[in-house]
Symmetry: D2
Subunit: 365 residues, 4 copies
């Protein structure tokens, strides 16, 4: 949708706010009437995303307390747009900070200043800050509850790789409960420990790490997605790439599947308990852009965080001279552990949107 | 956009038609007035996508001759929607064929029949056929010319991997002219030969291969893309995932970048000939979802073609019994060599759309 | 929707073509699968709009034979976009006609030439021609059948005024069958005769007449329309104002209702046969933008046709000098009698769109 | 745009809130960066709409103080979405009020309760309240300033009729300054007085009045609007019909023009000071849906307010029995005098949207 702050067709999330402005927030329009909802439903997912939770994330404390300011009445959604706000607590302190002119490598500074002719709010990344993903979670928490309550759909994501450290085993449904039992959100405990150490080491060196999030969504009805340009893959990838650090998305066997023969990659149909299913799930639950009832599986590549404490060569946009930059402040050495609720949110928003479009979810519960 | 047959915001492509229906075609709305255009501009790109060109693609002969039926007057676009049609020559022969009920593994048969309660045109994949990518090329050829004429933007893509065979060198701009000099569209001639042999071998075994397409777009102005949900990455990936066999998309260093440290992955700014550029381009020309003036680079994973000649286990959707299927007909053992014009088209449509949105291209030339 | 050739949200009509180009046509995307459909369903409504039917309309003969070129299979819609084309028979003769530079009063010539810098196809009004309303009928005929089959909704419109000649009685449901029994489409036979004479007189004088169409839609379920910006009134008026000559739209008591007291204009609720209805229908079936189950009634003002045979003062856009223009060719002295099928089409498209959005019509029949 | 709370294509206003909820507010996305803006720009227009200003409007006191909570930095717009909120001061008092079940004639109660299965917030009309038009003004004040600063476009509207009392003279540009010099916003002082008395009389009788607002917009560039479905008339009427009490919209000579001959209604072109203009302006500044440079003129019919103090016959939706209702509370005997800022807002939003689409306003000032 046009100017870029909204996503969805029947269930539309509009995100607003800046990292160091007065507030960040979201409007979710199109949510069916009659869903039980209060702030706690949203706060719970926000808390999993919040910074300052532990040693491996940024030490900034952002309260991130959500307030619903429209669309909920007597504990239920009304069919009207649901507006949610987080008030930024410490924004005033930096109001008079000078405009930064040294371009931070890996950040949006250069294209943003050029695009907006320096009118953009540059403080803390402004509109481009990863902090804005909290607005995705506001809408996503509602979509996720909606999917669960109406269709039994469950979407879960987890850290499967940090830097070069990968999970040893393939994810299975029993691992779901282990995801949030450690700080890196990796359901394989021993791997999680190594990941944690690697992140702490990167922090010590003033460096950062990237990684991979995997997302698994079960109980999706057969038939969601519209052929050609609103395929589930098109709409899911569009949503996921709105996360600042994401640089790759794949479904099912993805890039690795490109190396297989058709006879190896095709998922063969069988009947199990009277239901048509596939023996394997290399398609990631999507064929021809449409859900086939198998789990929807994605792998999502996050680049290492661009803010590092090391000195970096760069250019001052004002003088157009080369210079040296040392980024200060408290930054995440790795954003991946905070990403699972964000991924879950965008997946849930997209699937709920398609479930509404196809009539699988009704406009009034 | 909603029911799924349209893409774009200011430059909108609507695709129509089915593989074995009367026609396939496209309406491109929002193209600026005053662009010189005739059928040859489009036919040239369509010919590169057309099947039956050589041994490694399907032996079906689809004339694929495009006819412009609206929107062009005295050799120029008028600002009105441009409608283009390809008439399917041999559709009548199969009109009375019985409905296929054996589900083809890897195809959309099962979700499509379920979604549309068997009303969908199943012949040759119907609406889900790879043949529909010709409609992307119709619009894309115009967008590509528009970008070239107005901004000097050039988008080129090529085969960089078939099965496990990969190009040895990194692509550079001198290779552009070699892309279409061989059947696999790989600009590295000796690798192209091996790829070709591998495809022919797969065909002999009744099997198929996948591969990877890389896309490089140069001269993109700084500042295209809208933050958050209409980022260039969001909109490019949405467009690319509309290609039936695509299962993965990455920008710049992509999945591999997830394994690097921030200090390794960040692109440092320097000044070259008075212009701010980055030394490396691991971001793939996009920061914060906005173009930074560097080449936009993508890698796109294609699964091996689902139609293979080998017998496969499957289910008959009518009887809900397991059975054996042997797909007949002339199929591509590998669709990757036909994909570069399709990728170029979707990239060009997306970038032209954003160039119009941002005012970089005017509504009248 | 953006560049202007599409309307609808869940059921989207895209119109293409020019008055004297190769073709005019439409793509209807989002129509549910399983609706019985062939060309006859559409041709019937097109024939009521077609020029050259009788003395009071233009004497041009436009065959206006519609051809469905996608989206219908074995006599039913498939869920894929339905594309329909009318081939313009006589377009070549005028291909080389010189660009007209004398601005026709009341026509789009001046703003169109300015907007498109003269690249627009000016022949016969080009994209702005009333002829394009045939593309609305293509989509509308399908929407109207869909509404009738699924919900029993019937939309009918008729001529209630030509120039200063008005129907004497208020329309009632028994009059429906009389609408198409005379050339002016006025269900009051004696008034129709006077209207016809007035039109013929205007023609003789080289002049033209306007008039008013009334539209009545019954059996609309309670609850269609979305509050605020997608109210039924918003979306219906948007659709209706796409008809070239329309200059006014009112619902229910409309402008006249502005002169009443609230105690006179309010419709009081009563129970009839167990159903909640209103005693009167001054709201035109819409309250708060949402249907209330009463007939949806609109009145639509058409200006007198701009093409008249009399000499008119105007300006030559090339020389920027004042000059005299005499429009030649065969024109409608009054377009109103051809408008009812167009109004019915746009009303049906809008209501069907909202019925799909709200779940009142399912995506598969 | 879909679920109904948003309007616009390139400049998108999203409205949220309910009459007696915590807040009402709006997000304006797509506003160019670099526009000077603070709360005062918006408050000024809001104050003209605010209730309780004088005797002829409701005696409720709604502070209606707007707060900008995103999108403005150092006194300028940033290109990011601008979010504005008004906090509803007295909402808590009614939280536990019983659900009203007696349907108020003329209000949305019946269709809303049916549509949302009683989950809608019914207090004070909830989402359907005229109070929500304050959210239009929030966005409209910005659009109006943007148009003025960039193109010199000025949009003004005024009360031309209350009940049966009409202005005697035609509006001319000198009257602009008189609009806000009286409570009814009628620039003809002696007529304003009679209108005021009529409203006070209606109030005394427990009754209400409707009326007509006229809107005049000058300095609109030639060429705004997109042919067919995004004509200026289509988009303006869609916007205007989002105002709760509007039941009719006409452009230029409108309904009255339907009674004229073409030779009377056509506006003839002449050259004035080197510029092509029309002698008269019966088209209301729009030809073929595109602006022709003449003032855009509209007349808008408001029904008499539905809330009246008199007893009315109605139905209890719970018991489905007929009953008597007497609406209490402080209501406007006539909403028309509060409507001009709302009309100006929706006109400005629509024209600014088209100016951005056509490139007449740049994305960065």
């Amino acid at each position: 949708m046009l100017p870029g702050s909204s996503i969805g067709q029947r269930l539309v999330l509009t995100s607003f706010g800046e990292s160091h402005g007065k507030s960040i927030g979201a409007v979710l329009d199109g949510c069916p009437a009659g869903l039980e909802l209060d702030e706690k439903d949203i706060q719970k997912m926000l808390d999993f995303r919040r910074p300052g939770q532990n040693l491996i994330s940024t030490q900034r404390k952002e309260g991130d307390v959500v307030e619903i300011i429209s669309g909920v009445f007597r504990g239920h959604t009304t069919g009207a747009p649901i507006t949610m706000v987080i008030w930024n607590s410490d924004q005033k302190s930096k109001d008079y900070e000078n405009l930064k002119t040294k371009l931070r490598p890996g950040h949006s500074d250069y294209p943003a200043m050029t695009k907006y002719n320096h009118y953009n709010d540059h403080r803390g990344g402004g509109r481009f800050s990863g902090r804005l993903t909290a607005t995705h979670v506001m809408g996503g928490a509602i979509a996720r509850k909606l999917l669960k309550v109406t269709l039994g759909v469950e979407t879960n994501s987890f850290t499967s790789q940090i830097g070069k450290i990968k999970m040893e085993k393939k994810f299975n449904s029993k691992m779901v409960n282990s995801i949030y039992k450690n700080e890196v959100r990796c359901p394989e405990i021993k791997t999680a420990k190594i990941m944690r150490e690697n992140i702490l080491n990167a922090r010590k060196k003033g460096d950062s790490l990237g990684g991979i999030i995997e997302s698994v969504t079960i109980n999706v009805p057969v038939g969601l997605g519209e052929p050609i340009f609103s395929s589930l893959e098109s709409d899911l990838s569009k949503a996921i790439f709105s996360i600042p650090s994401v640089k790759g998305v794949e479904f099912g066997s993805g890039f690795q599947g490109s190396e297989l023969f058709g006879s190896e990659n095709n998922d063969l149909y069988v009947v199990k308990r009277g239901k048509i299913v596939t023996e394997t799930n290399r398609s990631g639950g999507i064929l021809g852009g449409i859900s086939n009832g198998m789990p929807i599986t994605m792998r999502i590549a996050f680049k290492p965080a661009s803010s590092i404490a090391q000195k970096q060569k760069t250019v001052d946009i004002k003088t157009k001279k080369e210079t040296i930059l040392q980024v200060k402040g408290r930054h995440d050495p790795c954003v991946v552990p905070r990403a699972p609720p964000v991924v879950d949110s965008l997946v849930a928003l997209t699937i709920a949107d398609h479930a509404l479009l196809s009539g699988a979810i009704k406009p009034v519960l």
